[in-house]
């Protein structure tokens, strides 16, 4: 093992030599005893691990679980409200359409009575003539 190999194994296995594979551990220890630059590499990795452990300390949280459940409840409420809106939207639309159609029909039929009256007058007259003719024939 040389310094370059050592650094590669250090990247791979970390600074805890006891967690290195056994055959590498012996060679690493031998190299460490001979080379100060290799020892410096190991020391640097040990320091990195210590700093990592320190800076990765997590601050305490206060009532985070309750905050999650509160947001969950609020979200659920919004979802239900949206569902209700979606549920009401169709009948409301149907009722509005019916109403609009009714109003349209009402407005369009404003003139019908006049036409209808004319038609009825004509039909009545025609029917009367027919009827009266039939009566004449019979007589």
């Amino acid at each position: 093992m040389n310094e370059q190999n050592f650094e590669e194994y250090l990247d791979l296995h970390g600074s805890e030599l006891s967690s290195w594979p056994e055959h590498l551990r012996d060679e690493a220890n031998e190299l460490l005893s001979k080379s100060s630059s290799v020892q410096a590499l190991l020391d640097a990795q040990v320091a990195v691990d210590q700093v990592l452990a320190d800076v990765m300390i997590v601050p305490k949280t206060f009532n985070l679980e309750q905050k999650i459940m509160a947001r969950f409840a609020a979200q659920k409420q919004r979802f239900e409200l949206r569902n209700w809106s979606a549920f009401l939207w169709k009948p409301a639309f149907a009722a509005t359409c019916s109403l609009a159609f009714g109003i349209y029909l009402g407005a369009a039929n404003q003139e019908l009575p006049v036409d209808l009256a004319e038609d009825l007058t004509y039909v009545t007259f025609y029917d009367y003539e027919e009827w009266s003719g039939e009566v004449e024939d019979e007589s």
């Binding site: 990195v48 990592l52 320190d54 300390i57 601050p59 985070l64």
Partner: protein, 185 residues
């Protein structure tokens, strides 16, 4: 993953109940995993406020997307960490830079763990360096070195192989080591 009967208090059993809309099971999962998920997110993003927000969002996503979880393919803890990581990535993209987040939290570390100003500056530099690691390297080092996960489990969260995780950790270690040597010179 083998299909086995689920234990009544296991995460997987609770998650099945969540899939059926059981809010009490959801609450139990929240109680059980909030702290570990918060720790993971905090270690990735380095900001207390963001970490709390993303933790909350993670659990809301868990409820919304519970139907997407399949116990045969991924363990619950792996899945929820994947959700948390994706939300962190979204946050990183929004911020574009971690330097801002890594700088305004350090006083709390300084107050509680660092004795001298010189040490404070060095640790600050190291913390900044951790913040500038690529996201995948940071996730790998947080999961395996800080949280003690196996490389197999970390590989699932990172959607890569065990060799891939080893390479990510190796690169992160080398970068941090170089930074530390530079700062201590």
């Amino acid at each position: 993953m083998d299909r086995q009967p689920l234990k009544a208090d296991s995460d997987e059993y609770l998650m099945r109940r969540v899939q059926q809309g059981d809010e009490s099971a959801f609450s139990m999962l929240v109680q059980r995993h909030t702290q570990s998920i918060h720790a993971f997110i905090y270690r990735l993003c380095g900001n207390r406020g963001d970490a709390e927000d993303i933790t909350q969002e993670t659990f809301l996503r868990l409820w919304q997307r519970s139907s997407q979880w399949t116990p045969d393919t991924v363990r619950f803890t792996t899945w929820i960490h994947q959700i948390a990581r994706n939300l962190c990535i979204d946050q990183f993209r929004r911020e574009q830079s971690l330097k801002r987040t890594s700088s305004h939290e350090n006083t709390e570390f300084a107050d509680s763990t660092i004795e001298s100003i010189e040490e404070d500056a060095k640790r600050q530099a190291m913390r900044d360096e951790i913040g500038t690691l690529p996201e995948r390297q940071r996730t790998a080092i947080v999961l395996c070195q800080v949280q003690g996960w196996t490389q197999q489990d970390a590989a699932k969260v990172l959607d890569t192989s065990v060799d891939g995780v080893q390479a990510l950790i190796g690169r992160a270690r080398r970068t941090l080591r170089a930074s530390l040597v530079k700062n201590y010179e």
